[in-house]
């Protein structure tokens, strides 16, 4: 059995995903970071962006997170975000509409949010 780490992806109001994984890739303010089992204890600030979790069954879970933190210790990884959505929860058409609207209104924050959602779905 390959080494695993336990992942908890939690949003402010719910537990989004939890399980075992072999690799987690997330975007911190100082660049993308990949965490594998046995990583040094880490606490970082996340940028909004897609998070990729390679589960121990070999599947890939992608989630769009909008700001938050990553913390890793004792082979337990927690991703704390205010808003997090799994790729299969995202409504692509709605995100596209939101993106167009954000572009039209020049709302940079909303545009980024919609963009992150779309990127999480398309991979």
């Amino acid at each position: 059995m390959a080494a695993e780490l336990h992942v908890e992806l939690v949003a402010a109001d719910r537990n989004v995903w939890s399980g075992e994984a072999t690799l987690v890739v997330a975007r911190t303010t100082s660049g993308d970071i990949g965490v594998m089992p046995g990583h040094q204890p880490l606490l970082g600030v996340l940028e909004s962006g897609p998070v990729t979790i390679r589960t121990s069954e070999g599947n890939t879970v992608v989630a769009a997170v909008h700001g938050g933190f990553i913390s890793f210790a004792d082979n337990k990884l927690s991703l704390l975000t205010e808003i997090a959505e799994l790729a299969d929860e995202i409504d692509v058409q709605r995100a596209e509409r939101a993106l167009e609207r954000a572009k039209a209104e020049a709302d940079a924050v909303a545009e980024r949010r919609a963009d992150v959602r779309l990127r999480a779905v398309t991979g």
Binding site: A12, G44, V45, F69, S71
Partner: protein, 305 residues
């Protein structure tokens, strides 16, 4: 129908209608408690992990931050009071307000000025009626607060605490909310949220005594702490709002249950009175008929002679 009986009947009808309303409110509140409790439980993982992270940074680095260091001479404190938007919840709002008053009293005795921030229409009305100053207030979401609401509340508070006291900022932040202990017990409690005391934060998450590893901070301990603390405050406020919402529904359910019970008792005793009145009426009618008949009989018997 006699006048007395008619009055009783009318009152019974009115009380029955009221009872139906209170019964409905009781059931609505009961179903909402469960929902609110579920929301409290769902917000726990985030709060726990966040507290762990804050503790880790604060203990694992020598960083000093405005939100963790106590001012030497605290001169101004902010109180966030969480009440309800609607009444009919027994002593729910007034208990929280009383608790806030006690806390204000205590802080004043310690020589601090007090700025009051209020959530909920009841608290706003209480302060408005007494023409007391309110620093800021929010209404319209106490039934089922969302995380965005907590963010909205936390924003001005964080701003105030980061400001210098001389420029109108505050040194301490206290929160008064109603803790949800069980369906039957809810307590109005106050607690100091900022400056952060780590022992308390650990107690709240049950992470006491856990030895935290030395973390690698990305990008740096200061930046992480800067980003963490506002989130921590938001999450604590969110938790307080959710607990208060659950308590509000529980208090309303209890108040409505006793109102329904009282209405039932009232209907029962009024029905008894109405029955007695009806019986008295019947008895009177019979005695009138009998009296009339015997008078007639007496009269005819007399005329025969």
């Amino acid at each position: 129908m006699g006048a007395q009986l008619r009055v009783y009947k009318r009152r019974i009808r009115a009380i029955t209608a009221t009872k139906k309303i209170t019964k409905a409110m009781e059931m609505i509140a009961a179903s909402r408690i469960v929902k609110a409790q579920r929301k409290v439980a769902a917000s726990m993982p985030y709060a726990t992990e966040l507290t762990r992270a804050v503790t880790a940074v604060a203990t694992g680095s020598n960083t000093k931050h405005a939100l963790t260091t106590e001012a030497e001479q605290p001169t101004r404190a902010a109180i966030l009071l969480i009440t309800s938007d609607r009444g009919l919840a027994g002593g729910y709002s007034s208990n929280a307000i009383k608790q806030a008053e006690r806390l204000t009293e205590r802080l004043r005795a310690e020589g601090k000025e007090v700025d009051t921030y209020i959530v909920g229409r009841k608290g706003v009305a209480y302060f408005g009626f007494r023409e007391r100053k309110v620093a800021d207030s929010w209404t319209g979401f106490t039934d089922s607060p969302a995380y965005d609401d907590a963010k909205r509340v936390a924003g001005p508070l964080i701003e105030a605490i980061q400001l210098d006291t001389a420029e109108g900022g505050v040194d301490e932040l206290h929160v008064v909310y109603t803790e949800f202990v069980s369906m039957m017990t809810q307590n109005a409690v106050d607690g100091r949220m900022l400056p952060l005391s780590l022992d308390k934060a650990e107690e709240e998450t049950g992470a006491k005594g856990e030895i935290l590893p030395l973390f690698d901070f990305e990008p740096s301990a200061e930046d992480v702490l800067d980003a963490l603390l506002p989130r921590y405050v938001e999450s604590r406020i969110y938790n307080a709002l959710l607990q208060s919402a659950a308590s509000e529904h529980a208090a309303r359910r209890r108040a409505m249950k006793s109102a329904t019970d009282n209405a039932g008792d009232l209907i029962k005793s009024l029905s008894r009175l109405a029955n007695a009145a009806r019986q008295a009426e019947i008895t009177q009618e019979i005695s009138e008929i009998v009296g009339g008949a015997s008078a007639m009989a007496d009269a005819t018997a007399g005329s025969d002679k």
